[in-house]
């Protein structure tokens, strides 16, 4: 029996490199070139321009802009609310995905369809909806206008689909016999969820959380109507950028933009590391 299934050693890096070089046909080389140019035009060059524009201020000027009390307040509000909304999404998004995959109930298809509405809706329309519902003339009697709840509501609304849509396909692909195996080995439902299902879901949830966070720190349209944009209280970073730009202060606007960019990158990298770790750890 010891002869069964001798493990194949994975190809060495050297072999892999030669193989990929051979498969890089002229056609795919062209596609690669176009992709790089396209990405550069759309993403890399504008990002560099923002950073260069911020660099006009010099290190001292940059520091002064981002440490202005009003700017700091806006950045703090943006990052904290985004973290809160991301955490909310991790819980609610996973639950929604679970319900959509595992439960059977009338109207399930419709609910599934509605998940994408916040994503598909133009953000300013979302802002208008929220203003109508929770504004000064709220039919529900809930007045969130000019409060930090307005920001939270708007962010929760627009980031809803991300975790649901990343966790859903993974949940669907989970085999039921794995849960049955855990059960026959003595694991209760909670233990099975924590030790068997959740570890498989974590990478997807982390990916969804990263997207939700990135979306949240950059949000503008959906919260601008309801939050009132009160300096020190409900003004978020993107509104601050808008303000600086309106005042003709392009460099300061770019400085905040650069900060947002760095925060977004940090969070995405952190979640990526987390997801790799958890996916490998095994319990």
């Amino acid at each position: 029996m010891a002869s069964v299934g001798i493990a194949t050693t994975p190809g060495t890096p050297h072999q892999r490199r030669t193989r990929s070089r051979r498969s890089l046909t002229p056609g795919s080389g062209l596609a690669l070139g176009i992709s790089v140019v396209w990405l550069s035009l759309l993403v890399l060059i504008p990002l560099t321009a923002v950073l260069l524009s911020a660099a006009d201020l010099g290190l001292k000027g940059f520091w002064d802009v981002v440490t202005q009390p009003q700017t700091l307040a806006a950045l703090r509000l943006t990052v904290l609310e985004s973290i809160a909304v991301t955490l909310l999404n991790v819980v609610m998004g996973t639950m929604l995905a679970w319900v959509l995959v595992r439960d059977r109930f009338p109207g399930k298809r419709l609910l599934d369809l509605f998940i994408d509405v916040p994503f598909a809706l133009p953000t300013i329309v979302a802002g208008l909806v929220l203003l109508t519902l929770y504004g000064p003339k709220s039919p529900l009697g809930m007045h969130a206008n000019n409060t930090r709840w307005a920001v939270f509501l708007a962010l929760a609304f627009v980031t809803l689909p991300f975790v649901v849509r990343t966790a859903q396909p993974v949940l669907e692909s989970l085999e039921r016999d794995v849960e049955e195996a855990a059960a026959s080995l003595g694991a209760g439902r909670l233990t099975t969820f924590r030790r068997v299902i959740l570890p498989s879901l974590v990478p997807a949830i982390a990916a969804g959380a990263a997207l939700a966070f990135a979306r949240a720190i950059s949000e503008y349209g959906s919260l601008v109507l309801l939050s009132g944009n009160l300096p020190y209280r409900t003004e978020v970073a993107s509104v601050r950028i808008y303000g600086f730009n309106q005042d003709g202060n392009r460099a300061s606007a770019s400085a905040i933009a650069a900060i947002l960019l760095i925060v977004a990158l940090l969070v995405i990298v952190a979640l990526d590391i987390l997801q790799r770790r958890l996916a490998r750890r095994g319990d």
Binding site: A181, A183, T191, D283
Partner: protein, 327 residues
């Protein structure tokens, strides 16, 4: 009796998967539940494991009433066709799972896992992830995982069904040897009669939600209780209005006695050491007879297509009247 199933019925909607099944599975033995796909054998296994609830009837395991126990409380080991590996855990972690659930001391768990990995020949792979193993290795890991909790009974649902022919055969021999070593009451589901005949101490033939016959491999093969059992356990052909196995037919090139029926070889197919003949009888309305002879017999008698021969059932051959036996 280790497992006692009484009057179990299970329906899925209108489909009757199990129809009032009663069977006793002996302690310490290796029993096969054999039957065609959709016959209910997997459902029976899952009901014994508690993964499925019976609509009516009872299950007792080692004298303990288990009908309403959840799978967690039945202390059964279950092995699935598609391994059901915990993909994010290493091989060792997979095997340790049941012991960790039972909060065994760490040192004890480690020792037991090492022993089991030794038993299934996976010691050198303990730190691998299941995805880095072959199908056969994964199934051995699943077996070690199921054995780790020292189950009262070990249940295997088409355990080798997803493996290729060669590995399947190796694992089958190995399961037999493992069982001789471990002696845990084992029940496995298969639709492969060769697998059942080769591995099992006892076979339960299940078809259409009912038990057709229970017996040792020899009993089933030599004394099938019904046409179904006879034809499911091996090839059959019809001669003189009775079912008979193609290798239980004598071939003569001369009319030796009055029992032999004259016919012509219309097709001859050689598969390895075996030669399969299709014989068209001269008797009107008699269907063609399939006969299997050895290569040596073929050479000895110079059998070839178009040759006139006489066929008769071998002395003492088991035949079966083609009317379903009522039990």
């Amino acid at each position: 009796m280790s497992i006692k199933v009484s009057g179990v019925t299970k329906k899925f909607g209108d489909f009757v998967a199990l129809d009032d099944i009663s069977v006793d599975l002996p302690k310490g033995q290796l029993t096969a539940l054999l039957g065609p796909s959709g016959g209910g054998k997997s459902t029976l296994l899952r009901i014994i494991a508690g993964l499925e609830d019976a609509d009516s009837g009872t299950v007792t395991i080692e004298g303990n009433e288990a009908t309403h126990l959840p799978p967690q409380k039945r202390n059964v080991g279950f092995v699935f066709q598609h391994y059901a590996a915990f993909k994010h855990m290493s091989v060792a972690k997979n095997v340790a799972f049941g012991l960790e659930i039972r909060k065994r001391p760490k040192a004890e768990t480690e020792k037991r896992v090492a022993e089991l990995l030794e038993l299934v020949h996976l010691s050198q792979f303990s730190h691998r992830l299941p995805a880095q193993l072959s199908g056969g290795q994964r199934q051995r890991m699943a077996l070690a995982r199921a054995l780790a909790v020292e189950p009262t009974v070990l249940l295997l649902d088409e355990p080798f069904g997803a493996l290729d022919a060669k590995v399947r055969k190796e694992l089958r021999d190995w399961l037999r040897r493992l069982h001789d070593e471990v002696h845990v009451t084992t029940v496995f589901v298969t639709h492969d009669q060769e697998e059942a005949l080769e591995v099992a101490d006892e076979i339960v033939v299940i078809n259409d939600g009912r038990i057709e016959q229970v017996g040792t491999p020899d009993q089933l093969y030599d004394e099938p209780a019904s046409e179904f059992v006879m034809s499911f356990l091996g090839p059959v052909t019809k001669l003189n209005g009775r079912l008979v196995r193609p290798h239980d037919i004598d071939v003569h090139t001369t009319p030796e006695d009055s029992l032999g029926k004259a016919g012509k070889i219309v097709r001859l197919l050689r598969v390895g050491f075996e030669v399969r003949l299709t014989v068209e009888l001269e008797e009107a309305d008699h269907p063609d007879v399939e006969v299997t002879v050895t290569r040596a017999t073929q050479r000895h008698l110079n059998l070839e297509e178009g040759l006139r021969i006489w066929v008769s059932p071998t002395n003492g051959a088991r035949t079966q009247s083609p009317i379903r036996a009522v039990n």
